[in-house]
């Protein structure tokens, strides 16, 4: 029940940098539940949270590492449609 | 005795008997998936975690290849029968 407050700052830095890079990359704003494209909220924030947790478990956190994680997660969710494409079954 | 090895051995034995007793081949593949669950649990209960991760990655690849073969076999059997009823000499 006692979370150290510096950890919350680091998680916040990675989320905010990922959202800023996402705005600069012109990702779509509104979430669409049926499509496979990433928008500015859905995969970006969760990929940034997961990668920050992995980095905290492996190396320990740093401000520069958090910014790098934000850039990488924004790029990953910009091109998520190419990395994991959806398959349509031929009917 | 712990619960994980006991249940894994039980699952392996039931899956093996099921692979022998069922006659339809989709049922045989489902029982094969049941046997794989017991096998991975049995590997994990001896603390070989890397072997367990590799074998659980390679398990759906083997299942998908078996299923592609089963689908091709069903399609081939249907078309062959229809073909042989119309032109009997060229079929066999």
């Amino acid at each position: 029940m006692n979370v150290p407050y510096t950890l919350i700052y680091f998680y916040g830095i990675s989320i905010i940098s990922s959202i800023i890079i996402g705005i600069l990359l012109k990702m779509p704003l509104k979430p669409n539940t049926n499509s496979f494209e990433g928008n500015i909220l859905f995969p970006t924030v969760f990929v940034a949270l997961g990668l920050t947790a992995i980095a905290e478990f492996l190396f320990g956190l740093d401000i520069i590492l958090c910014v790098i994680i934000g850039v990488f997660s924004a790029l990953f969710s910009k091109y998520i449609n190419r990395i994991f494409p959806g398959v349509d079954y031929g009917n | 005795m712990d619960v994980l090895p006991l249940i894994s051995i039980l699952s392996c034995i039931l899956g093996g008997i099921g692979v022998i007793l069922h006659t339809d081949y989709i049922n045989k593949i489902i029982m094969f998936a049941f046997l794989e669950a017991g096998l991975i649990g049995l590997i994990t209960s001896f603390y070989y975690l890397d072997v367990s991760i590799i074998s659980s990655i390679l398990e759906p690849i083997g299942t998908v290849i078996l299923l592609l073969g089963a689908l091709k076999y069903a399609h081939l059997k249907r078309t062959k029968k229809k073909y042989s009823s119309e032109v009997p000499i060229l079929a066999r």
Partner: protein, 85 residues
């Protein structure tokens, strides 16, 4: 004996017997799904470490891919039987 492990083990034995005794092909798949849940839970209760949790999640996702392929094949075979009649 812990009550958590005993509960999961009892459920797994019941589900395994029901897989063996059900006759329909498509109704065996929900029981297989339940069996995968039980096996992932037993793996991480036997090995309490981050590597055990990684083993459990890799096993669960790959077995889900396997049952997805089996269900897709059942649908395709019904479609073949309908068109080739």
């Amino acid at each position: 004996m812990d009550i958590v492990i005993l509960t999961i083990g009892t459920i797994m034995v019941i589900v395994g017997l029901r897989i063996f005794l059900t006759r329909s092909r498509a109704l065996k798949l929900p029981y297989v799904c339940c069996l995968n849940f039980c096996m992932a839970a037993l793996i991480v209760l036997y090995i309490k470490s981050p590597m055990g949790a990684l083993t459990a999640v890799v096993y669960f996702i790959s077995s889900t891919i396997s049952s997805n392929a089996i269900a897709h094949t059942i649908g395709e075979m019904k479609k073949i039987e309908k068109t080739m009649k």
